[in-house]
Point group: C2
Chain length 344, copies 2
DNA sequence: GCCCGAAAAGTTACCGGTAACGTAAAATCT
DNA sequence: AGATTTTACGTTACCGGTAACTTTTCGGGC
């Protein structure tokens, strides 16, 4: 296909109309099923549409009218994390069923990338934006305000969002795990996670966790925040470092399940028995957890539902309906076999 | 935010120009850095752009000119499958770095969904389309031909693609596994997968696998194709059914790793030793495979690279460059501990 | 000062639809 | 039948940019 061949001239509505022997406007009405034409005319126009393989140019429609496009911009940190892939799946399925298209943006957990992406996406006149996370750059906030379209912030619940917030309270989820572990009798807790420049959900979990642990009479002895992705190997090496630091921890809380799996792998290699020698707790309840010989103590969130709910919120807001400012989709703790009741 | 408030009238180029005391055209030139204006004028215009928070309407640009948009439609079967999430990640990152936006379409493995999605996406005048799979509906093919834009078909390598194909030969990958297992001494092979209406990659793998097994003097004793998703539990129950059918199989080949994990779980539950009583082989080399107590025999494909390569192919084709019709990104077999060398 | 060419800026037309309005023909009413 | 409404179309203008062209401004050489 050469450069020239590719520029196949597209068939316009005017051409269809001419072929059918009617005006552009009549053809337009037929295609939109708006009424105001005879059955005879409708048949003529549709015949030509099929014959010529007419594909409408929605750009022109959106551009001409005061209507917005059916694009919804969706920013997601990354898809390496299974959890966000599920969220995106939920979003796209639900948006698709309502006739909207997802314009994806992987923003790598940085607000700078997000800002650049927002600028680009806004230039396409989207119907709305779904953003992961609650922290945005100043200029991004300006743009969003000026654009004046529905914004759904997902992931970490935000009591004063730009528009609507859907997610869970990560602080609370950390708190619940902390309380659970202290309740089992653990007192010297460790934490292994990754570090981020901005306040984020994992940080909120750690804060809630620490609060619960201290409230319960325990303490977070060691916190390791690696400069890395929150995945298997950082979990492995983070655990190695934490244990090598000489701190006497009786249980480790990980930023997520992937890291917890890494930690478990390290323990196995180092002949540290779980849960006899040490307790392990994760976050997220990854489906593969069920493959493991030992059920991981973790916390379950329905990521697919989070995605679907976000999309529903977006559709509602686009239609101008009101929607709860903060929609909590909830979570539940999954007690596993990687922790045990300890005698105090 | 009420219905009215939301219709914040956007700032147009004309308004910026008027505020700066120049014509629309001059402002347009400044914004595009096209030259033909004085430094003084540039400063005036840019000052107003910042002040008014002007966001260009790219719809108008694309609509007006003969240029295409910077949208690239990407159809992916689903994201529940970790593999496709990685492919998408590779695509979006690479496209993004070249200034293109991903318009996502989850087509659920059906060509009908794909057709509907193609129709919609084409109406947005995309720069190109990346499609997973090589089979498309007749009407979809017509639309794609008429649209005349770059198409990259990914996943299963296609020697006569619509435009460009990037992926691996699934037939060959199945063949390689078959040859490997027969080479180890397995003779009575079983297969557990899912069924699809259309010819797809998994079917190609099974065909290649069967060919190699038969060539090597073995036979595929039982094939179970469940009407379900290719995930953990179908793998579990498929294995149960296969073994309950009374067939004497010495090794089972699964459609993918998730199903293989399910099969392993069933074996554990049924006290069937792996690999002493039975061999297990998967496909895809999921990252979590490394978490397991026993390394799975599987086949590795770099999904991220597949995505990146597809995006590169797309960028090349949009620029009008030629690109190899079929780009094979290769794979390699991963011998694991779920299979062993058998005495014949 | 005058002329000329280049740089800087303005004008016009157009992309492909649709809103708003106008008009002719058919259907309904009195 | 004539007046009135309804139906079935057609006309015009416009959305926000940009290509192509025209006009104005400016600096320098003579």
């Amino acid at each position: 296909m050469s450069e020239k061949e590719r520029k196949i001239q597209k068939i316009s509505l005017a051409e269809v109309a001419q072929a059918a022997g009617v005006s552009k406007m009549t053809a337009s009405r037929v295609l939109r099923g708006e009424g105001g034409y005879s059955e005879n005319t409708r048949a003529k126009v549709m015949a030509k549409v099929d014959l010529l393989g007419y594909v409408p140019n929605r750009l022109a429609t959106v551009f001409a009218g005061d209507t917005n496009s059916t694009f919804v911009g969706v920013s997601i940190p990354d898809l390496g994390n299974e959890v966000f892939a599920q969220v995106l799946e939920g979003i796209d399925r639900k948006l698709g069923s309502h006739g909207y298209q997802t314009v994806l943006g992987l923003t790598q957990h940085t607000i700078e990338e997000e800002e650049a992406w927002i600028r680009t996406v806004l230039s396409w006149q989207p119907a709305g934006l779904i953003l992961t996370g609650r922290s945005h750059s100043r200029r991004a906030l300006d743009m969003l305000r000026t654009a004046g379209l529905p914004i759904v912030e997902i992931w970490d619940l935000n009591s004063s969002p730009l528009d609507v917030s859907v997610g869970i309270s990560h602080y609370d989820s950390g708190f619940e795990m902390g309380r659970y572990l202290v309740g089992l009798g653990y007192r010297a807790l460790g934490y292994v996670g990754t570090s981020h420049d901005t306040a984020n959900a994992a940080t909120a979990r750690l804060e809630g966790f620490s609060k619960a642990v201290i409230d319960g009479g325990g303490s977070v002895v060691r916190q390791f925040c690696l400069h890395d992705t929150a995945s298997f190997y950082p979990g492995f090496y983070g655990t190695e470092q934490l244990l090598a630091s000489g701190a006497a921890v009786d249980c480790i809380y990980f930023q997520n399940d992937s890291m917890a799996f890494g930690g478990m792998q390290y323990c196995q290699k180092a002949a540290i028995e779980i849960p006899d020698d040490i307790g392990i707790a994760g976050w997220g309840d990854m489906p593969v957890a069920s493959v493991l010989q030992r059920r991981l103590t973790t916390l379950h969130v329905s990521h697919l539902r989070l995605g679907q709910t976000s999309a529903e919120a977006m559709v509602a807001r686009i239609s101008g309906e009101t929607y709860p400012t903060a929609k909590n989709i909830g979570f539940h703790l999954v007690p596993g076999a990687t922790t045990k009741r300890n005698v105090l």
